[in-house]
Amino acid sequence: MKELRDPKALRRLLADIGELARKTGGGRAPRLMEVCGTHTMALFKSGLTPLLAEAGVEMVSGPGCPVCITPNAIHEAAIAIVTGTEGATLAAFGDMTRVPTRQGSLQTAIPARGSRLKIVYSPEEALDEARRDPARPVVFYGAGFETTIPAIAFTVRQAAAEGLRNFSVLPALWLVPPALRAILEAGDVAVDGFVYPGHVSAVIGVEPYEFVAREHRVPGAIAGFEPGDILLAVRSILEQAVEGMPRVALEYSRAIGRDGNPVARALMDEVFEPYDACWRGLGKIPASGLRFRKEFAGFDAAVRFGLGEITDRDLPGCRCGDVLRGVIRPEGCRLFGKTCLPGSPLGPCMVSYEGACLIHHKYGRASGGRA
């Protein structure tokens, strides 16, 4: 899909965006929140953020980053499993293994005798590990949003079907629409539009975001992940703002249907149920997380390894929560750029590749986007 990276097409879209941004009025540049960490990454890798700023649009990173919003306590629980259990495998996505906690990170933790950390691309690899040696405990650190949760649900159901008693999942499962609701209801963030996560939407469809337009009158567009996709979404959002007709535009129709994926949703629902989860930096949000249903609780690593109730315990001085809600910019945190640095991160926003602070740290040093 190289057409979606064609600089000429992108320049055309940026010109349209510039014109629309001028028309939105309001005395300041429109501020759009890209919810999903992958969008933050895509903007960063393509160098689009400064170009959007030149066109008069400010992008703000939202909380759609499992690395950023998973409470420290769950990371520490994962570390406790691999350092405290002999002969076990902790399987995890690469993203999750670098988060610094009081016990270091999963990468720096020294496993107990015979134990190891295995980086996986798919939860199925964790299931394969469990099949390989049924006597060996395999814990999958299952972190993600609706894009990933169906896959995790599948592995649990499959493990149940095969009687893989050595397999368990440490859950860190988060839902996007409740987080959006919490951000809007908290009211201290001025967000003029949302770029919705395209692949979360592949599962949940369009409807779950509609309350944003209906109840809060904020425009939004569901976007794919090529530079062209993101700019199309931004243009659509500004058009909605200028027309005064906020809605949820679907700008990724080649990949997703309006109804999302009912099979995936049913599977999520079979294995997990919603609960009021505690998000790092955002606190407790109603019905925003998923936990194991009773029938599958045997596969919950938190239960199996006797991990206590998860509360949020942050490193002192860390303001990642405020950054995640868009309340302050990274520069607003006293630790940013001083004691909290890419090489020595204190909080998840500096650790995650898509963390706002890590990205700001690079942009802050760059001389700006004169292409």
């Binding site: 690469g94 993203d95 293994t97 990468q107 720096t108 020294i110 993600g144 890419p342 090489g343 995650s352």
Partner: protein, 328 residues
């Protein structure tokens, strides 16, 4: 830091800072302080060493033995020396199958022949089972100085040439080690860079082989020493199809992926075209490309910038820790 972590060995900033901050100061030697790939000693001799700890031992396109020869050969080449002699030291784990060792040795012999170097001294140690990962190899290399990197002579307008595709070695090892459900025909690019040697006499200003940490790490280290920013163009960087595919699927940035047979060459502006022609004439340099230049229109001194395919700019930083597949 009280304990050594695995991250330290990943070849990025952590490792460099560790060496510069913890090891080098103890020796206070100007030859060491340079931290070049090899040291030029009095008498026209260049000297280098490297250790090899790859897992798995064998992978498509190479093995630990071949790496052990070419890695050290290449350190000499990019430092301005014609490789001549290698030492070869083994640390073997108790229980290693002799047939495996035979394969490694055969590979070393073959690689040494191709690279035109003689193995003239060595050592072998055996450690208890569990205290070594099958085979560790150290090679030290000695060569004849024929040129010198001269980063101080780099000027505005001088060009950045990359001798071929990025990341093939890294991906070959990654897939051989952890099956991410991905099969590709990628092969390690492990090879000697001898064909770069004539460029020294032709006026090459600086070279470095693109190993752990990848292109971005290598170029940042150069950029930091220059009075002008370095700008490279994303759409000029050669990538093989398997690497392109895997990088998009697994979320790994090719700019940080290791190679074992590719180098960056800084050519004086007037010579760049000719360097490119020479490189492309060689089978190992067919995909050589002019990927950027030292300039002052964009960026600030000390910076390495990437102009993205989309037309934006990105500041590149060195790799700080292990490259891992992502879901985000």
């Amino acid at each position: 830091m009280t304990r050594i972590s695995l991250e330290l060995g990943s070849g990025g900033r952590l490792m460099r800072d560790f060496i510069a901050g913890r090891i080098v100061p103890s020796f206070r030697d100007p030859l060491l302080g340079d931290l070049g790939d090899a040291a030029h000693l009095p008498g026209g001799i260049a000297f280098t060493t490297d250790s090899y700890v790859v897992d798995p031992l064998f992978f498509p396109g190479g093995d630990i033995g071949r790496l052990a020869v070419n890695g050290t050969v290449n350190d000499l080449v990019v430092s301005g020396a014609e490789p001549r002699f290698l030492s070869l030291a083994f640390i073997l784990e108790e229980g290693l199958e002799a047939a495996v060792l035979d394969r490694v040795i055969a590979s070393i012999r073959s690689a040494a022949k191709t690279a035109g170097v003689r193995i003239v001294t060595g050592d072998t140690k055996v450690v208890r089972r569990g205290q070594g990962d099958k085979v560790y190899i150290n090679t030290a290399g000695v060569g004849r100085s024929i040129g010198r990197p001269r980063p101080g002579k780099i000027r505005r307008g001088d060009k950045v040439i990359l001798t071929g595709t990025l990341g093939d070695h890294s991906l070959a090892v990654m897939l051989a080690r952890g099956d991410f459900g991905l099969k590709s025909n990628v092969r390690s690019d492990c090879a000697p860079l001898l064909f770069l040697l004539p460029l020294w006499k032709q006026g090459a200003l600086w070279m470095r082989d693109v190993t752990r940490g990848g292109l971005a790490t290598v170029l940042v280290e150069l950029a930091e020493r220059l009075p002008y920013p370095v700008l490279i163009e994303e759409d000029r960087i050669p990538l093989s199809r398997p690497v392109r595919a895997a990088s998009e699927l697994l979320g790994i940035d090719p700019l940080y992926m290791a190679c074992e047979g590719k180098a960056v060459v800084i050519a004086p502006a007037a010579k760049a075209g000719e360097f490119l022609r020479r490189l492309r004439a060689h089978p190992l340099g067919r995909k050589a490309a002019l990927i950027g230049e030292v300039q002052d229109k964009v960026g600030r001194p000390g910076e390495l910038l990437l102009r993205t395919t989309a037309g934006g700019l990105r500041l590149l930083e060195p790799l700080t820790s292990e490259l891992l597949p992502r879901i985000c």
